[in-house]
Each structure stands twice: as C-alpha cells, then as structure tokens.
Point group: C2
Chain length 463, copies 2
C-alpha cells in the first residue's frame, strides 16, 4: 500500500538537454518558497477554508453515505447522477478507475447486482432523451448533486427527471427515487428535499465543488456501485499524511506543485499535459483538468492585483495519443511539460500470441503482453521527449486499486492548493464564470437579468 511517487529526473537541468530545473534550487530558493506555501496552506486549513483535507477522517459523513447507499443499491437497476462540473467529474474519475470497463454494458450478474451508473451533466437534449428512453422509471434512482443547490443545468435536469418519474408512477414516485447531495441547511435543493421528505446527503460548507470527490458528491455513487470507498479514503489519508511535511524533497505534492509552477513561470512551459498510460485514468485526467484550470486560472492575485495567471491543463492518453498529439509535443513549440501517469503492475494482463512471426513487425510482439507494450511505449516516449529536450515527469503508482486512486486524488488536490500559494492566487474560487451565468439567465428571461445586447450580427464577418 504505497503512495504515488514522482520521478522528475527528466525535468532536471543536465538530464534534459537545454532546459530543466537546477537541482540545487530544490534545496535552496524553491525549498524556501515551498516552506512558505506550506505554511500558508496550513494556516488556511486551520482556519477552516480547505475542508477537503478533513474528509477522509469525517466518520459521520462516511457512515451516513454508506447507510444511504446500502438502502439504495439493492432497489434499483440504474443510478443516474444529475450534476455537472465538480458534481460529475469526481464520479466519472472513480467510475473509470474502479468499476470494470463498460460497466453499463455488463449484465446484472457481472455487476454483482449493483446498478448501472449514468451521468446527466450536459443539458443536451439528444443525450437526455436517449438516456430516459432506455431507463425504467420504477427501477431508477436519481442522485441530484449541487453544492449551491441552484446550478441551472442540474435544476433543469431535476425538473425533467422528476416530471418523467411522476408521469409514469404518479405523485408519490419521485419521493422514493430522488436522493439529493447539497449544502447542509440551505439552497433550493435542500429546501426541495425537506419539502418532499427526500433522502439527503451533505457536501460540507468548507468543501468546494471541485474538491468534493471525497465527499458524498462522488462517494455516494461510488458506494452504490460497489466501489470500496473505505479504501479510497484510506489511500487519501495516507497521501495527505505523506504530503504534510514542509520539507520540499519529502513532499510529493510540493514537488509536483513546485516543478509545474517553475515550468510555467520560468521555463516557458504554460501547457501542462497530463498523460496517463491507463484507460482507467481517463476520468482522473479530466478531473485534474478542472482542478488545475479553475483553481489556478485567475485574473487577480490574493491582493487584487491583475495577474491573469494559470497554466493550460491538457489531458492526453497514452499510448493512443502517440498517434495524435505526440507529434506536436515532440516537434512543436517548447511551451509544454508532460506529466506521465503510470503503474508498476497491471491488475490483469493479456498475452500477445506468437503468430505470423515471419513478419518482423509482428515477431517482436509475440511472447510479450499488452502491458509490456503499453509500458514500453510510456518509457520510450518519456525518453524520446527527454532526448529532444522536452521536460517531463512521471507519477507512478504500484497498482491501480482503490487505495492508490484515493492517494492520487488527494495528491493532486494538495498539489493544487500549494500551487495556488506559489502563484499567489486563491485556488478555491471561480469568479470568471459568473458573467456567462448572468447572460444565460438574461437569455432565458429570468427576472432581474437583462437580455444581453450582443453586437448586431454582421454579414461581413460571416462566411
């Protein structure tokens, strides 16, 4: 049960030609800078600002989540999570990593009698109509997840799903089939739960949407589908403990934050490519993308001074994207640093048979396994990038079990709040999305929100 390790040799000057971090700085100014960032995070954490740290030890929350999951799991053949952004990406990360692939295509026995898991995130009528069209209302549970309890897309989906259940099963139908996950004690969703006697779970006040993966926001759907949420939390707790030291070179979250901050601000690498070599880490990569983009993409710093900061997180997937973005990573502008994610040992493997060995392109494959090939490609790509002077790091876990996935989730959350301090910004807010929300409400005719005057459509600028 080891936590993830970070190998950053390929980002060190002298190893990666023409660029890289002077390793002495890791004992010098960067160590000092991290010590300050660590102190600031520790202070904010003590002040109650960063609730995600406390989630693995929140026994009441965990017990309550498990109890509600236990009442729901046996009664339904489908669980639909209605949520978007931070209320969907954590669930998708856990689903991809820890449920068998194509879970929804398995029959009930192969799912151990657990429900299918669907996400209703985007308000796209094609997707929503198709989803409802293949669900049985009597056998479907809807979990409505919104920290604020008023997210427009989530509320729209709630109205659609509630009425869909009611029209089939009558006015008592929804009460048995809707579970809400929202702030304790306030918001429209909380009120709806109280008015209708719905099962309800809490996202603690100090836990923001994109830091809610270890709260009921994602752990409830995980528990319903049979994921070992206890092991996820244990892995997270272990990573938090290992990432609690102010000593840079003993703190993997600190090293990750420091190296990526230096890459952006000193090495000319604002593009951070997160590139797992494991299909099961697809959801994690998109979850990291949100965590990085919303936490670090800020107009102003903590003192309100304009900074317009933030690296661009680019999820990419090995080995497949060696046939897509790798050409750009190898030969294009030197504005990127790659964070590879790999594992030492696969949970299962597939042998490549020795056939058609008269073809050299096939002969070298037979007798190996698919993991041999996938892992050789990861190592070869990291080494090829190094030789071309393209800096990269590798985050490795021993296995990809629930404990390791919990560790990764906590590692990246801690890294991003350290990075927030290094950038000098508040990693917990997202003020930039408000204008678009207001303009949407205006276009939807909400009282008090004027319909935006857009520039008159001009045929000169259309082709």
């Amino acid at each position: 049960m080891s936590s993830p390790t970070i190998d950053f040799a390929n980002a060190v000057a002298g190893v990666v030609p023409g660029t890289g971090i002077d390793p002495d700085r890791l004992h010098g100014d960067l160590a000092a800078r991290f010590r300050d960032a660590h102190a600031a995070v520790t202070a904010r954490r003590r002040a109650g600002e960063m609730g995600f740290f406390a989630l693995p030890a929140d026994r009441d929350l965990t017990v309550r989540t498990g109890a509600v999951a236990a009442t729901v799991a046996p009664r339904f053949e489908s669980l639909v999570v209605i949520g978007i952004g931070g209320s969907a990406l954590g669930t998708a990360a856990l689903r991809d990593a820890l449920l068998p692939p194509a879970w929804n295509e398995l029959d009930a026995a192969s799912r151990g009698g657990r429900p299918r898991l669907h996400l209703m995130d985007n308000p796209d009528p094609d997707s929503v109509a198709a989803l409802l069209g293949r669900l049985n209302p009597a056998r479907t549970c809807f979990n409505v997840v919104s920290k604020s309890g008023s997210t427009a897309e989530t509320m729209a989906h709630l109205l659609v799903a509630w009425t869909w259940v009611e029209s089939s099963l009558g006015p008592g139908g929804p009460r048995e089939r809707f579970v809400v996950t929202t702030s304790p004690g306030r918001g429209p969703l909380r009120k709806l739960a109280e008015d209708h006697g719905l099962l309800a779970l809490d996202v603690p006040d100090a836990v923001g949407g994109r830091f809610s993966v270890l709260s009921p926001a994602a752990l409830f759907p995980a528990a319903v589908t049979g994921i070992d949420t206890g092991a996820v939390l244990a892995g997270a707790a272990e990573a938090a403990a290992r990432c609690s030291t102010p000593e840079l070179l003993r703190n993997s979250a600190g090293v990750l934050a420091t190296l990526l901050h230096v890459a952006d601000t000193e090495m000319g690498c604002p593009v951070h490519v997160f590139m797992p070599y494991a299909d099961r880490l697809r959801g994690l990569a998109y979850w990291i993308q949100q965590l990085w983009a919303e936490s670090l993409g800020k107009a102003v710093d903590r003192e309100g001074r304009p900074v317009e900061s933030g690296p661009t997180p680019l999820p990419s997937f090995g080995a497949a994207d060696q046939h897509s973005v790798l050409q750009l990573l190898m030969e294009g502008p030197r504005d990127k640093i790659v964070v590879f994610l790999g594992r030492e040992v696969p949970e299962r493997d597939v042998g490549i048979p020795e056939r058609f060995a008269e073809e050299p392109a096939l002969a070298c494959l037979g007798g190996h396994t698919l993991f041999d090939l996938l892992d050789a490609e990861r190592r070869a790509t990291a080494e090829a990038m190094r030789r071309e002077g393209r800096p990269n790091l590798t985050v490795m876990t021993e296995r990809l079990d629930a404990h390791a996935v919990g560790s990764l989730l906590m590692l990246f959350q801690i890294a991003v709040v350290y990075a927030g301090e290094l950038y000098g910004v508040n990693p917990l807010d997202q003020p930039g999305v408000e204008l678009g929300k207001k303009l949407t409400f205006g276009l939807m005719g909400r009282d008090g929100y004027p319909r935006p005057e857009a520039p008159r459509s001009d045929s000169r600028w259309r082709v």
Copy 2:
C-alpha cells in the same frame, strides 16, 4: 442542405476589445497570403499529394465499401475496429455524431439489427480483456485498420483477437471474421489478407491516416452500423466545392485557417480551443485535435529551416466545461482563441416542465427546452468572452445530420492544409513520432533496435 458557416465577428478588432484582426486586412495582405496558400494547395492536389479531396467522388471505393458492409452487417452482433490514431478517431467521430447515443447499450431492435461498435485502440489489458470477455466470438467481426499495415498496437491486437477467435472456433474461424483496411498492394496486413483470403478494403496511397475519415478506414464501420455514408460524402463534396475559391472572404476553410494562423502567430494565441455545444460532436473535437496537432506541430518548415511551429488544440465541451476550463478561458492568460461549434436546430428536444416555480432559480427554466438552455449558454459564453476581450469564432451548422457532419469533416481537413501553407510546413507528415517508436521496439527486443540507455534512475530525483 447548407454547409457550415463561420461567424468571426468576435475576433475582429473593434468588436472584441483590446485585440482582434483589423478587418481591412481580410481584403488586403491576408487575402493575398491566402491566395498564395490556395494556389499551393491546388498545385499539391493536382500533383496527387492530397488524396482526401478526391474521396467523395471515388465511386469505386464507395461501392466496394458498401458491398463489403452489406455482407458483414447482417451476420454479426458486434463489429470491433482494431485501429489507433487516424484509424480510430474518424470512426469515433462518425459514431458519436451519427449513431444514437450509447449505441452499444441499445438492444438489437433499437439498433435496427445493426452490430454494436467497439474500438480496440489502446493496448491496455484492462480494456481489451473486458471487451473480449463480453463478446461472442462466433458473432463478432474484426475490422483491422492500418494504413501502413504494421502499426505496433494494431498488430498486437490483431494477434490477440485472431488467436482468441481461433481458440474458440478453430483454424477456419478468423477467415470469416476478419476484414482488413490498409494500403493497396503492400504491407504486412495486406500480405496477411492475401495469405488467408480475407476481405480487404483500400486506403488509397495518397490518403494519410489522419485524412482517412472519408475512406473505408471510417466509412466501412459507419456503413456496417447503418450510417448514411452517401450523405456524409455528399456533404463533404459540397463543402469542398464551397471551399475551392481563392477569394478569402468566400472560402470558409480559408477564413478558419487564416484567422487561427493569425491568432497564433500575431495575436499571441497559440492555444486553439475547439468547443462544441453538442455531445454528438465530442468525437469530432478529438478528431480535429489530431488533425491540428499532427499536421501543424512541426520542427522544420518546407525548406528544412527550424520553426518549431504549431498551435495547441484543446478540445472542450459546452456547456459542461463552463464548470471546468471556462474560468481559465475567461480570466487566465490571453493566449487562447475559442472555436465554438453549434447548430441552429436540434434533431430532438426535451421540454423543461414548469414546476417548483416558487424558486427563482427554477422558475426561469420551466417552459423552455434543454436546447434553449444549451444554446443560451453557448451564446452567453461567446458574448461574455467577447466582453472580456477574449477572441472567439463560431462554426454553425443548420442541423447535425450526416450531410452536415460530412461538411464539417471536409471543412476542417481543407482548413488544416491551408494552414499548413500559411505556417510553411508540410501538413501531411509526422516525423516526430519515429524516435518513440524506435525506442519502443528496442524495449520490446526487436532485432536491430538497440534497447535505449536511459539515464540511471536517481533516487535524488524521485519523491
């Protein structure tokens, strides 16, 4: 049957505050520059370099593809496409756009008796073992797609699948169940097809992998699953005709290429965000990402001079990613231009019922539709970005039918070869991926490929 239009008002100086293209240049230097690019593309096309232009009119290829698809479709319950990169992304783009959502979760009747469609692209043992575990070998067809006929991942999957079929059905099993799509007349895959009497389809020599979506590489799986490939090709042909003029402001591919090239090279916007507001365009966005990254990410120009060029294509998905990357797009560094993709009219829509209207957050939703909300979010986001001085364009189609999807595919292919001329690079090669391939072969022990000496693992640089 209209082709896509591009509205670029929000990238024009005077409309988007503080940045934008001087519109007079579209009649001046940029028009002249495009005229040269157009002439160069026309010359290369005539010289036979750019085979994708000719695919919509290649009647022999189309008839052959349809005939093979007709023999395959009724015999199988699953089609597995074994391919990676350009041999998978086009199929995924067509699947996402034109098959009903969650096609593989539908029963046979809802699929019109057509096969399920699976992609075996990444050599990840978790995915491959899970896929084979839920397939019936007798009722599964494998379509092995590789232009070169020697792609390592594809060859490994071929060996796995071939032996899996044989072990269940005997030595005659594979012959009836494998269809190959590869270069005519050469390569290990072609030889295998000839040796074993397999059905075979051609990717014409002048058609590169990432330009093969309108060839049998993607049209065969599309035809097997019942997509109207004739309409896709008709849409592509119409777009090609509309994008054939050297007059910049009448050529939508030219405008797209010119604006994005200027954004990268003159406006400080190397990050090109491709952001559809339609779940059905997810696959298209990843297909565009490959097209942009591999075609434009180049170390040297046509004359061999070092350039290290190429924008970073970042797929993003509205409205969901308004809760993920939008914060960065609105407030972070001004190094991005967004290409929104939308449509005028949805194929289907879902009404939002008027319920719980005492809550203001819900009252403004009822009586609208999900498409109203999705489309208001697209327009509001484009307008919010404009107000913040963040340039953006919008590619619109009237509908998202097979004709429109074909038009989009051709529009972006033509745009990228124009962009190649504007950057001065060869958009058809991908020399940067060779080193990683060689090192992989070395690690796999292939004769003649030395095992790479990586720097000795150094515990100082691991945490």
